[in-house]
Symmetry: C2
Subunit: 295 residues, 2 copies
């Protein structure tokens, strides 16, 4: 990962504007999940570190714009760039990182470059769907999963596929692995938003629902409720909810085991991912750790 960090630094410095370097250095690097995945899959390729750096720049750009769109004040436990430097700066920095990433991508084989580039269109589209869907209560599981795939799984899927292409491994198997890793990661994130306490989350529990996001436990709950209860759930959607209401939702979720059902889907997706790359112990291990994670 040191080589990846060095490549990231080089690319940012190559933008040739000290303001960009200063702003970029304010960002928390995060877990570098996508970079680690690329290195694991394509470690024998001399281009793996550069590809990993490009994907991390693109990911950083997408988070900068996400935080503007979601008006998020924090990111990875630090104040977000839009909170400290303003939305405009976050938009501009995101544009610079996106285009620098794309520029470097052009040096790769067309199949690799196309895979990563197309996933960025998909993730931007997913972001737009997420915002649109938050306007109303969405009870459609497939519509939710389609959006989740675009918004949070496509870049991981593309990273895994591109890395496999670099070293002539099975591209489809690795793409499936990346896709399901991304999906199950996000489903667990959505569950933790409900089950963790405010101290662990750094924000109130059930914040997703307050922001209008109907994640799987809410979608499953909706279909398990009677008409009057459905109405009560929909009425609570997209606004601040008091303790009574959140306790009622939580109780109904427990009665109807909607969190367990959501977790079962994450496990099923994880198992499919593990099956796709069964011969690779390390990739299988990543999913084990992920599925067991708690904050």
């Amino acid at each position: 990962m040191q080589r990846v960090e060095a490549e990231i630094k080089r690319l940012v410095d190559e933008c040739g504007y000290d303001e960009v370097t200063r702003l970029f250095n304010m960002l928390s690097g995060g877990k570098r999940l996508r970079a680690k995945l690329i290195l694991k899959i394509a470690q024998e390729s001399k281009d793996a570190a550069l590809l990993a750096a490009i994907v991390e720049l693109i990911h950083a750009a997408s988070l900068l714009h996400d935080d503007v769109i979601d008006e998020a004040d924090t990111r990875r436990g630090k104040p977000s760039v839009n909170a400290t430097e303003g939305s405009k700066t976050a938009v501009m920095l995101g544009d610079i990182l996106y285009s620098k990433g794309f520029t470097e991508l052009v040096g790769f084989d067309k199949a690799v470059a196309q895979t990563i580039a197309a996933s960025v269109t998909a993730l931007s589209k997913g972001e737009m769907m997420d915002v649109k869907m938050a306007e109303d209560f969405n009870a459609d599981e497939q519509k939710y999963l389609d959006m989740l795939y675009l918004k949070t799984a496509t870049l991981i899927e593309a990273a895994a596929r591109a890395a496999a292409l670099l070293v002539d491994k099975d591209a489809d198997a690795h793409a499936l692995y990346g896709r399901n890793l991304g999906l199950s990661f996000q489903i667990i994130d959505d569950i933790l938003d409900i089950t963790s306490d405010e101290a662990t989350l750094g924000k109130p529990a059930m914040n997703d629902f307050v922001e209008g996001k109907c994640t799987l436990p809410y979608i499953y709950l909706y279909h398990a409720l009677n008409d009057a209860e459905k109405e009560r759930l929909v009425a609570a959607h997209g606004k601040k909810i008091d303790a009574d209401e959140s306790a009622w939702i939580r109780q109904k979720m427990d009665e109807n085991k909607t969190i367990e059902k959501s977790f079962a889907l994450a496990q099923k997706l994880s198992a499919q991912a593990q099956e796709a790359v069964a011969e690779d112990v390390e990739l299988v291990g990543i999913l084990d750790t992920m599925i067991k994670r708690s904050y």
Copy 2:
């Protein structure tokens, strides 16, 4: 140009999200200067229309984000997307168009793709410099021209260079042409902001200066003034100015011929551009029309 419009429509539809098509159709296509330039230079290439469509998508994306950053209410005489649909939607639509443009770009030769992609990093950097520079009175001509080059000339330069590469014409000569076309176009735009009336501009005259943008006539003026006058000019920068103050600035500009001096630079850059592509009557003609334009 019909083929370009058809390609643009195809690329937007390929994003596969009706909300994107709906929003894109709200945009005014503008003059399609970059597309026309590509077609003129590379008309015999079968890829010219696609390249032109890609560059127009990228240009549209950059304008969407520009308007968010400048909080502009109108664009090409129509309400801007950020004004009617909100800043978030404008950011997301811009991201989708950028990434779709980049994805299609990957199909071109590396030199062509790299040229266009790198210019987007440059223009995003230019946008950030423009915003930063508007915070204070900037009296540095070179610094202003460097920013102008990045913000408004690089994509035109890249379009001309890439088109020349498509048909094996002199890439450097065409790049110089595009660069100077972009620069002189913008310098004349900056002059018109001072010399045109509100009815013609659709906004008050001297709006640039009110927004903090010290264009060439102001920079030249600063250096021509005595210390007390300099102070008065700097004091008026970046805020609403009353009729007395704007009349004084205009009178001082006339006395010191700073508009003429700015226009002379635009003419000089145009002449260099015409010289670079002297054998191409049509390209020479574009500049003649442009330098004589009035609103």
